[in-house]
């Protein structure tokens, strides 16, 4: 039974907490956790790019949450006399084809896109954790079956099923998008979790806990899963861009959010036919997507560097 599946090598990092926690590892997870996170946080802060990205990301999230509440404009109010205006004092990012304020709409769309992104990512992680930890922890027969099934699922073409699924459901709102986007993406997460659990399982403290008679769910929840948390968070920020882009993509083929709601993806798709005469209608959501994706990437890389001491030597400054 292979413990290092080559496909995991890309994303998964080796057992991080062990090396870093040092003395704490033998005493049991909690102590390792405390110094691990503090160390990681310190290292994260040293990475200027990641810090800036994190700040921008946070700012965008706050903007999306707060602006629609305080904005003088109603994002869904149709005012055809004001249609397609360029940026101005009253409408800093212009108006769209219906005369709706772009800034407010982008904020609202950002909310929905972020919610979908978060929702799908969490769903992916939940499926992944459940599937991966059971496979990794129990091992043996169960693991074999689960991994073979996963191999089979990998063979399913994702897009056709997403399209068919959305066509079956009919109306597309936030929840169905989350479902469609997460349904075929949890495989990698499952693999990563499984890999982690298998490696961690071999630690002394786990054996000690087992010897002491701890139940399997206690071992999982108290010792193993918290130590996979770092890897999971990284995975989450790595999935986020894919989900946001995936949602934009589905919007493009006509499976976007139903109006009058909009997500960044559906706004970008609507903007595409407008861009010759009114480029801002396409660029505003397009840039928003790009910035979010970039920030998520930076953050993920920053966290990965922070949690993996090996790369410290190759860091400069």
């Amino acid at each position: 039974m292979s413990t290092t599946d080559p496909r995991d090598a890309v994303v998964a990092e080796p057992a991080v907490p062990e090396v870093v926690a040092g003395a704490g590892a033998h005493a049991g997870a909690p102590m390792a956790r405390a110094s691990l996170w503090r160390d990681a946080w310190r290292r994260y802060l040293q990475n200027k790019g990641a810090v800036i990205a994190g700040a921008i990301f946070l700012l965008i999230v706050l903007f999306c949450l707060i602006w629609p509440i305080i904005s003088p404009h109603d994002a869904n109010k149709v005012d055809l006399t004001q249609a397609r205006q360029g940026p101005s004092l009253e409408h800093p990012l212009g108006t769209d084809a219906f005369g709706r304020d772009m800034l407010t709409r982008v904020a609202l769309a950002g909310r929905i896109s972020l919610a979908i992104g978060l929702g799908a990512t969490v769903a992916i992680l939940v499926f992944g954790v459940i599937y991966g930890s059971t496979a990794g922890f129990f091992g043996g027969r169960l693991d074999n079956i689960q991994m073979r099934l996963l191999d089979a699922l990998y063979g399913l073409p994702y897009l056709p099923f997403a399209i068919i699924l959305l066509a079956i459901i009919g109306t597309i709102n936030m929840w169905t998008m989350i479902l469609a986007l997460s349904i075929a993406s949890w495989f990698t997460a499952a693999r990563i979790v499984r890999g982690q659990i298998i490696t961690l399982k071999q630690n002394d403290y786990v054996r000690a806990a087992q010897a002491l008679g701890a139940r399997w769910y206690r071992i999982l929840s108290r010792h193993l899963l918290p130590n996979t948390l770092g890897v999971l968070i990284i995975a989450m920020f790595l999935e986020l861009p894919g989900v946001i882009l995936g949602e934009a993509f589905l919007g493009f083929i006509g499976l976007g959010i139903s109006p009058p709601d909009a997500s960044l993806g559906s706004m970008a798709e609507e903007g595409r036919s407008e861009y010759r005469a009114n480029p801002h209608i396409m660029f505003v959501p397009g840039l928003a997507i790009a910035i979010l994706v970039l920030c998520a990437n930076f953050i993920a890389d920053g966290m990965r560097d922070a949690l993996d001491p090996r790369t410290r030597e190759t860091k400069e400054g």
Binding site: Y154, G155, L156, P157, A248, F249, R272, G286
Partner: protein
């Protein structure tokens, strides 16, 4: 090694059966009438005639059995909507274009992406390095349909260098494959760069340098091979991206590929085409995974032992 290959090939059969079953169930759920194209209602008599003709009035298990038999005899049935063609015809006419598109996209990605990553790693912290990181981030972050639209506008329309759409002359193939290859290109570049940077710090490289080996020889013999491994493993997920991304590129560039056909077939409820394309895509993915695993086994002897 051969046992491994044979076992993997045998696994494609249950996977295919699963795919057929799931697709069949989903298409049954989806409702709609493949014979109704416009708002005009289909007269009852005609509807009945057509259902009889295409076996849609049989019970579901009969239809399923007929279909499975069809798959294994390579006869995927007639198209319900394109009435003068069979699914085999459609696949034969359109799939090669998509495969070509995907192939060229991957080619762009490998030919531009990997060397770029290598050079960036070697010229760490230079202008080239910064420039590369910048472009790779763009390739990553901006949705492909926006990039494609801009590319057509500037390169094809404003500068008139290539046609704006179609898949006919070699010039017309440049832009779409490039647009599709951008994200994989960016991915490869970053991956190779990161992995090379790491490898360059390794002890055995320092040893080789200390021994006095020339830089180039070091790179080619030691560093490159190990750095490429993560890139190879990235091919499989990137292939998935290329398959899904090709739908968008095919629509925007008006390429008569199978991706575009698939999306319209779901909308028009052309069951047999939908099933046919899904099964085909599944086979392609499974085979691609197989090839990648084999390549990986060749390149990285460590994993060969781990695979029992």
């Amino acid at each position: 090694m051969t046992a491994f290959i044979i076992r993997r090939i045998l696994w494609t059969i249950p996977v295919l059966l699963l795919v057929i079953f799931l697709t069949f169930v989903m298409m049954k759920q989806i409702g709609g009438n493949p014979f109704r194209r416009t708002e005009r209602a289909v007269p009852v008599a005609i509807q009945q005639n057509l259902e009889r003709k295409f076996n849609l009035d049989e019970p579901w298990y009969v239809q399923y059995a007929l279909y499975v038999k069809g798959v294994f005899t390579f006869d995927l049935g007639p198209s319900l909507v394109s009435r003068d063609r069979t699914v085999n015809d459609i696949i034969r006419e359109h799939a090669p274009k998509s495969l070509e598109l995907g192939f060229y996209a991957m080619l762009w990605a490998i030919v531009l992406g990997i060397p770029a990553g290598v050079i960036a790693a070697l010229r760490h912290n230079s202008i080239f390095d910064y420039g590369l990181m910048f472009f790779s981030n763009v390739g990553f972050a901006v949705p492909s349909f926006l990039v494609a639209t801009l590319l057509i506008y500037y390169v094809a329309l404003k500068w008139g260098l290539v046609p704006t759409n179609g898949w006919t002359t070699w010039e017309s193939k440049i832009l779409p494959s490039f647009a599709l290859g951008l994200l994989p290109m960016a991915y490869f570049a970053r991956l190779v760069r990161g992995s090379m940077l790491e490898t360059l710090q390794q002890d055995y490289v320092r040893t080789a340098r200390a021994k006095g080996l020339r830089q180039r020889r070091i790179i080619v013999r030691h560093v490159l091979r190990n750095s490429l491994i993560p890139a190879i493993t990235a091919i499989a997920p990137l292939l998935g991206f290329i398959i899904t991304g090709s739908f968008v590129i095919e629509v925007i560039f008006s390429i008569p590929g199978i991706g575009r056909y698939f999306v319209t077939s779901v909308s028009s409820r052309d069951y047999s085409v939908v099933m046919g394309i899904t099964v085909l895509t599944s086979v392609v993915i499974v085979l691609a995974n197989l090839v990648v695993d084999i390549l990986y086994g060749i390149l990285d002897p460590r994993t060969r032992e781990a695979r029992t």
